[in-house]
Symmetry: C3
Subunit: 159 residues, 3 copies
């Protein structure tokens, strides 16, 4: 019996295109029978936000952050050629034309393939994000859990 | 007989400085006898574009993308202090003064050292890039080929 | 006797938030008894600058670079929501409120935990940074030294 290969990805970035890259690699690795973890930290947490407004009790600064950050994968901007928000529309049109899978569906696929989606509790706290605002069936952990996975990883990436 | 070490780099970024970092690591690893792959995806594909105009048949959106993206390594911008296009000139002047190797030559060196340069076919399709527009003697593959290399890799990076 | 696990991080980015992520991972790995190296290159070198002005002899372009780049960890901008320099203040306020450790202290902690902090000599040369301008007790090396560490690494990241 051989042990399963393991892929871990830290998704730090809140860019649509970078998150797409991360989720394409994750879904590919899961299809090749790797154990896969995506550890979402800082702006990468936005990919896990629900797209509807969730009422929460927050301080002023946390409310400000929550307002300024995109609510969910579909609202994220591009790392390049964002053109004041026009870029993502352009990319999504091109993706539709080429039948590429949009980010929210890539995230669904990952969950169906048992990719472990983790939200970094320390940065959730910093950015004032609460568990009710994030997708269901994800895990909550810190850097220690990430390292425990990554130190046995074959493919470890920071995106 | 010991097996060769292996380095794989995903070049996602279209920034001159990040591509330089990727190619310096790749050339270094090749010099230390690693098997090296650079997998170019999204904006990183621009590093592989030929610098002359190549006539192709494209749809409207693909033409727009092709126009807006830099044609080849020498035309890429900086991730930092780009100053509306002035930054790359500044960096290149400093590099000349310090006899640092410019990016297009780093890419040549990599090809001479048998670094495997791969263009991601899925994102080529998305961005409307065709094989005639990219450098000669590169390979074309998808995420499965990347994973096959990376899961045996000693040094795997996402740039 | 089992060998120590090893974590290596290339800090390319000059963003406060990315450097924080790098140093949190590094400190975590050191706490779990990894041998840890952070290799600072390009804009990541700014995290190692002393915050006071250090008189040096430099050419014109090197002086310009030195002036434009942030002097030390505490002056670095954000990768996202930087708001023309207002973002870092906002993040630091939120961090204080949540008792998160600011970047300069994360760097101190790393040094106390024997994380090896390396400055890339090739990019120091390019950006005109001199050893007197950087923190004490760091090492100076090039890509060969990085690769020697990373090829034995369990967790290798490019930030």
């Amino acid at each position: 019996m051989t042990e399963k290969k393991r892929t871990t990805i830290i998704l730090f970035s809140g860019d649509y295109d970078k998150a797409m890259a991360a989720y394409i690699i994750a879904n590919g690795a899961a299809a090749y029978d790797h154990e896969v973890t995506i550890f979402h930290t800082f702006w990468g947490l936005n990919a896990l936000r629900k797209d509807e407004h969730v009422p929460t009790k927050k301080g002023f600064m946390e409310k400000m952050f929550a307002k300024m950050m995109p609510r969910g994968a579909d609202r994220m901007g591009l790392s390049n050629m964002n053109f004041a928000g026009f870029g993502p529309k352009l990319i999504k049109d091109v993706m539709k034309k080429h039948q590429a899978v949009p980010l929210p569906e890539l995230i669904n696929m990952a969950q169906e393939q048992d990719v472990k989606l983790v939200a970094c509790t320390m940065t959730m706290d910093l950015l004032g994000l609460q568990q009710e605002e994030l997708l269901d069936d994800i895990e909550y952990a810190g850097v220690a859990a990430y390292l425990a996975d990554a130190e046995e990883g074959n493919v470890n990436l920071f995106v």
